[in-house]
């Protein structure tokens, strides 16, 4: 056993564990039975309510187009936020105090605002001061909100990725006469991007989950709002929630698994410098998913934490 809390169990501990297992199993069964009867009481187990999900029209009319919109918004947001985040992440490591200050303020500002407010705001701005059509506006607003927020989070990932590289990299680059920009573009960034890949992929989970806000609050026709249409059609609220939740779990589970596979692979490969930012490092920066937060965990540096300049 690899836990600090208990030894490899002896005969007495084994017996105790068996008893605890049995009791816990009984409790779980009780819970399952309770849920089952509650569902049955309200007639939620009737086949007619579940049947729509076995028919292909349900999927082609509601669920798959909704999932498509969800993934489209997530992909767009990631593609736009990534370069933006890189710029701000690098700016936060600048040698010039004012560049650091401005970039830091922008990043901390957008990280401390709920992504829902950003979406609501963007939606209204598009409605009033642009000629984006009504049918495109929710998508635009959702992507804008996600980009503003996630660019700030990605900036922190980029910063952490660059800081995680061994100091010798910069020193060697300076020794062969590279300028600051060259050091960043040729030496640090390519390595940092590799190190950051798992963290970037796991950030996608956060983005996919956040698209659901757009569905409820500003009428974006993504998976969750398609669920409402579907449930209105077949009167299967509970069932549609269950199915939609399962779809989200599968998509996000695939992304998480891919991220940790990538992380393991990168840690193993001999070419890398050993600096890999995984999903767990990410959680320090951006834990409870719908929103992220400040990198207060460990040495990552708190708000306005440490900078890259090596002056004493």
């Amino acid at each position: 056993m690899s836990s600090v809390l208990y030894d490899t169990p002896g005969p007495r501990a084994k017996r105790r564990n068996v008893i605890l297992s049995v009791v816990f199993f009984a409790l779980l069964l009780l819970l399952a039975w309770w849920v089952w009867t509650a569902l049955d009481d309200k007639g939620q187990l009737e086949w007619s309510l579940w049947k729509p999900f076995t028919q292909s029209e349900t999927w082609t009319t509601y669920l798959l187009p909704g999932l498509g919109e969800t993934l489209k918004a997530a992909a767009l947001a990631m593609i736009i936020a990534l370069p933006l985040g890189a710029v701000f992440g690098i700016a936060r490591l600048s040698d010039h105090r004012w560049v650091r200050g401005v970039a830091g303020t922008v990043v901390e500002f957008f990280r401390s605002i709920p992504v829902l407010l950003l979406m609501l705001f963007a939606n209204e701005v598009y409605a009033r001061s642009t000629d984006v059509g009504t049918e495109n506006r929710p998508l635009y607003a959702v992507v804008t909100g996600l980009v503003l927020y996630n660019a700030a989070v990605l900036a922190e990932i980029v910063r952490a990725g660059i800081l995680a590289l061994p100091k010798g990299q910069t020193e060697a680059a300076q020794a062969i006469g590279l300028r600051k920009g060259q050091t960043m573009a040729l030496i640090l960034l390519p390595q940092a991007v590799t190190a950051m890949l798992p963290a970037i992929v796991s950030q996608l989970v956060v983005i996919v989950k956040d698209t659901a806000l757009g569905g409820v609050m500003i009428g974006f026709t993504e998976l969750l709002s398609e669920r409402a249409t579907l449930a209105a059609n077949y009167a299967n609220v509970i069932q549609s929630f269950v199915v939609v939740a399962i779809i989200y779990i599968i998509v996000n589970f695939l992304l998480t698994s891919f991220a940790s596979w990538l992380e393991k692979r990168l840690r193993r490969s001999k070419k890398s410098t050993g600096a890999v930012l995984g999903a767990t490092d990410m959680e320090e920066m951006n834990p409870a998913a719908v929103g992220g937060t400040f990198g207060t965990g460990g040495e990552g540096g708190g708000p306005g934490g440490f900078t890259f300049s090596k002056k004493p």
Partner: protein
């Protein structure tokens, strides 16, 4: 310029942010308790409990919070008539939102606490057992004090994220900050000003929390 702020009295601006704070407070306490229980399950020697803890965390973390909150309202309240002892619709929405936030945030609290327990080196517990302390004594005197000091930082992050996540309650009509902002922004002309007011409100709520708890976590960290 700020005239419009006084036109709203259900809720008022301060009332809406007070609702945000209340949601955060109660969900914070709830998720701390439930999350610690889950963490205890995940590190327990009983495989079935570990399995349950792992399954809960992995499932709940991958569902959007919006889905959970909406389910609490449309599923639990409308179909199963779960009212949580509430007398009217408003209180019911408030309590259901807390239930949803607690269920969701607990998964993240669990992960934070578990990582805290993992920061305690094996040798400490081995040494504790060597001087004859039993399981509870090891846990109470050696492991947990160090673990909790190690997780202040991550828990602060969870708390800040929770503060921002409470805006999702607007989706089921709880009159908190995002709800009021949506209403104002649709009725008033000063979009930018309203956005700035609410953004400022959240910066005021989250920035000090991050700074204070970040400072605290550095001060209390066990230096190894």
């Amino acid at each position: 310029m700020f005239d419009f702020l006084s036109d709203y009295d259900n809720p008022t601006l301060l009332g809406a942010f007070w609702m945000t704070v209340k949601l955060t407070f109660f969900s914070g306490i709830g998720s701390l308790v439930w999350g610690t229980v889950l963490a205890a399950m995940r590190v327990s020697p009983v495989p079935l409990m570990r399995g349950f803890g792992t399954a809960y965390v992995n499932i709940v973390r991958n569902i959007p919070l919006t889905v959970i909150i909406l389910f609490c309202s449309l599923g639990l309240a409308d179909i199963f008539h779960v009212t949580l002892g509430a007398s009217d619709f408003k209180i019911q929405g408030f309590r259901l939102a807390i239930l949803g936030f607690t269920a969701y945030t607990a998964a993240f609290v669990c992960e934070a606490v578990r990582s805290g327990i993992n920061t305690v080196p094996m040798g400490q517990a081995e040494a504790a057992r060597a001087i004859g302390l039993n399981f509870t004594q090891t846990l109470r005197l050696i492991v947990l004090p160090q673990a909790f000091r190690a997780v202040i930082g991550p828990l602060a992050n969870v708390l800040i994220a929770l503060t921002k996540n409470t805006t999702v309650a607007a989706a089921i009509g709880v009159a908190e900050a995002a709800y009021l902002m949506k209403e104002m922004i649709e009725n008033e002309a000063q979009t930018l000003l309203i956005g700035a007011v609410f953004a400022f409100g959240f910066v005021v709520l989250t920035l000090p929390t991050g700074l204070i708890l970040g400072w605290l976590s550095k001060r209390l960290a066990v230096k190894r």
